[in-house]
């Protein structure tokens, strides 16, 4: 039922909320109770002066009765029904439900949003617990030290006649291990404590680097204008604490500078005004497609005219750099979905690939992915080339019918019967 035909349902709901009898309302707006009954059951259209009068008695704006629940609320209800994974016979009546029971609809929509937030948290924590080498090493350290303490304390407590030499040695071990346990536990808590914003808690170089790029919104005006070198920016970055993070960030910024020199901001801003045509840009600026894709992702949204995500990997598939984009989940750690065009490009170096994709998940949005792999160094007869691949991710306004379904990473992907699956999903019903 269309939303604008549910005015009667909303009038009824509001009247019942105010505990106003049908006859009483009818009397106040000078119509019969039977006619109001027909209106409330959506069997008579209502508008004009009568609508205004009813709205006045019900103490709401007329638009609240004609437009009903917010579009976003109804969209969330439909999304909740789809995500439930079970056929909902009343799916077409979501707006009627929202109109008649706005309070309950808000509760359902709120719970649905909460589930989505929790799922995202699970995804982040799962990524971290599964693939974060720093965390795995910290946990191993804590548990191994605890094992040593338990075993040593047990010997001291349970062994009746213990030679003085052994006893002294175990006391010493206990002292050492308890100190180690205190230190490693504190380090682990600091690492896990997301409430602090201190960079020390990030712990892994990629996270430091990501915090650095995020703080600049992935665009570096100082490099564009030649005011600062990559090394100067890296040296001054409070987010980059470790040498590893500084090294990685410097490599990426050097690429950035080279791309910016080849395609100066003013020129490429003019070039993308008519649309994004990477092939033409490569020809105009006499450079390769990988450079163009990287450069496009580095442009501010107001220049590019749309959001853009980017991901780069090496030949092993390890993610070297990621610029996230809403709706296309890029795992922070560990292996990504092998169905991404990025990896197809690795299998066909120097062949540009353009794929329409949609990512499995709650907010399935469509994207155009442009990917290409290139040799990292000048090809040489003496050794095999080392390839890297880059993929520009552009949101699509229209939904292509033949979009290729891809995931984020297997652990948080709900796709069933996927030939590329490496491991079960923790979001499956069994989780």
């Amino acid at each position: 039922m269309a939303r604008d035909t549910l005015t009667g349902s909303r009038i009824r709901e509001r009247r019942l909320f105010l505990e106003l009898r049908q006859a009483a309302l009818a009397r106040q707006v000078d119509i019969s109770a039977s006619y109001l009954n027909l209106i409330e059951h959506n069997r008579r259209r209502i508008g004009g002066k009568l609508l205004v009068n009813i709205a006045r008695v019900l103490r709401v704006e007329p638009s609240m009765l004609t437009e009903g629940a917010e579009v976003a609320l109804i969209a969330t209800l439909r999304e909740a029904a789809v995500d439930a994974g079970k056929p909902v016979a009343e799916l077409d009546h979501a707006d009627e439900f929202a109109g008649r029971f706005p309070g309950w609809a808000e509760v359902l929509a709120g719970e649905h949003r909460r589930v989505a937030t929790l799922e995202r948290t699970v995804q982040v924590l799962s990524d971290r617990l599964t693939h974060d080498p720093h965390l795995a090493a910290s946990l191993h350290e804590v548990l191994s030290t605890a094992a040593a303490i338990r075993s040593t304390a047990s010997i001291l407590a349970e062994t009746g006649e213990l030679e003085p030499e052994w006893r002294d040695r175990f006391h010493r071990n206990l002292n050492e291990d308890s100190r180690r346990l205190a230190e490693s536990s504190r380090a682990l808590v600091n690492f896990l404590d997301d409430s602090t914003t201190s960079a020390e808690s990030r712990g892994v170089p990629q996270e430091e680097m990501e915090a650095f790029f995020t703080s600049h919104n992935y665009h570096f005006g100082a490099i564009e204008q030649g005011r600062s070198s990559p090394a100067e920016l890296v040296a001054a970055a409070p987010e980059l604490l470790s040498d590893a993070a500084r090294t990685i960030a410097l490599d990426i910024l050097e690429l950035y500078r080279a791309d910016a020199e080849t395609m100066p901001l003013a020129k490429i801003s003019r070039a993308v005004k008519g649309g994004i045509a990477p092939g033409e840009l490569a020809a105009d600026f006499h450079c390769g497609l990988p450079q163009v894709l990287r450069r496009l992702a580095a442009l501010p949204e107001d220049i590019l005219g749309r959001q853009a995500g980017l991901v780069m990997c090496d030949a092993s598939g390890a993610i070297l750099f990621r610029k996230p984009i809403v709706g296309f989940a890029l795992p922070r750690f560990g292996a990504s979905c092998p169905l991404w065009p990025l990896f197809a490009a690795l299998a066909q170096p120097m062949v540009p690939l353009r794929r329409q994709v949609v990512q499995h998940g709650r907010h399935a949005a469509e994207f155009e992915c442009l990917a290409v792999a290139w040799p990292q160094e000048q090809p040489n007869f003496d050794r095999d080339p080392m390839y890297r691949a880059v993929m520009l991710i552009l949101p699509q306004a229209d939904s292509p019918h033949d979009a290729q379904a891809v995931g984020s990473s297997c652990r948080v992907c709900v796709a069933r019967d996927c030939a590329a699956r490496r491991e079960p999903s923790i979001l499956d019903e069994g989780f």
Binding site: V142, S144, A146, A148, R150, S151, E158, R169, F170
Partner: protein
């Protein structure tokens, strides 16, 4: 003839505690901390039992157990695996790889002694 165990573990104080416990039970304990040459050490020692940590420098306990099971002479050697990773799938992976018994850290001394006695008794019955 004395009983002989090779302990592959990189935590020195765990080595010390287990060495103490098993020595008092009549075992000879050879300890080694590096995973990379652990298989060679075990082959050379030809022990009655191996206690193997999962996370080791050089080579993981899982790789070591797979290499051991590929060796005809070590195919039936009892292996007790100690690990900080105690999830069901870790246990399943270890058992599939050929681990005789799986024990999560932090363990009790009694658990270790019971496991060692059981594994040795089973090996002697076969």
């Amino acid at each position: 003839m004395g009983r002989h165990v090779v302990l592959i573990e990189d935590e020195p104080n765990i080595i010390e505690a287990i060495r103490f416990l098993l020595t008092r039970e009549g075992w000879t304990v050879d300890a080694h901390s590096d995973g990379s040459d652990a298989v060679d050490v075990i082959k050379a020692a030809n022990p009655d039992l191996v206690i193997l940590d999962l996370m080791l420098p050089g080579k993981s306990g899982m790789e070591i157990i797979k290499d051991l099971r590929d060796e005809e002479s070590l195919h039936r050697l009892p292996v007790l695996m100690l690990t900080a990773r105690g999830q069901a799938r870790d246990r399943e992976m270890a058992e599939k790889a050929g681990v005789s018994r799986f024990m999560t850290k932090p363990f009790s001394n009694a658990e270790v002694l019971t496991a060692v006695r059981d594994l040795h008794a089973q090996a002697n019955q076969e």
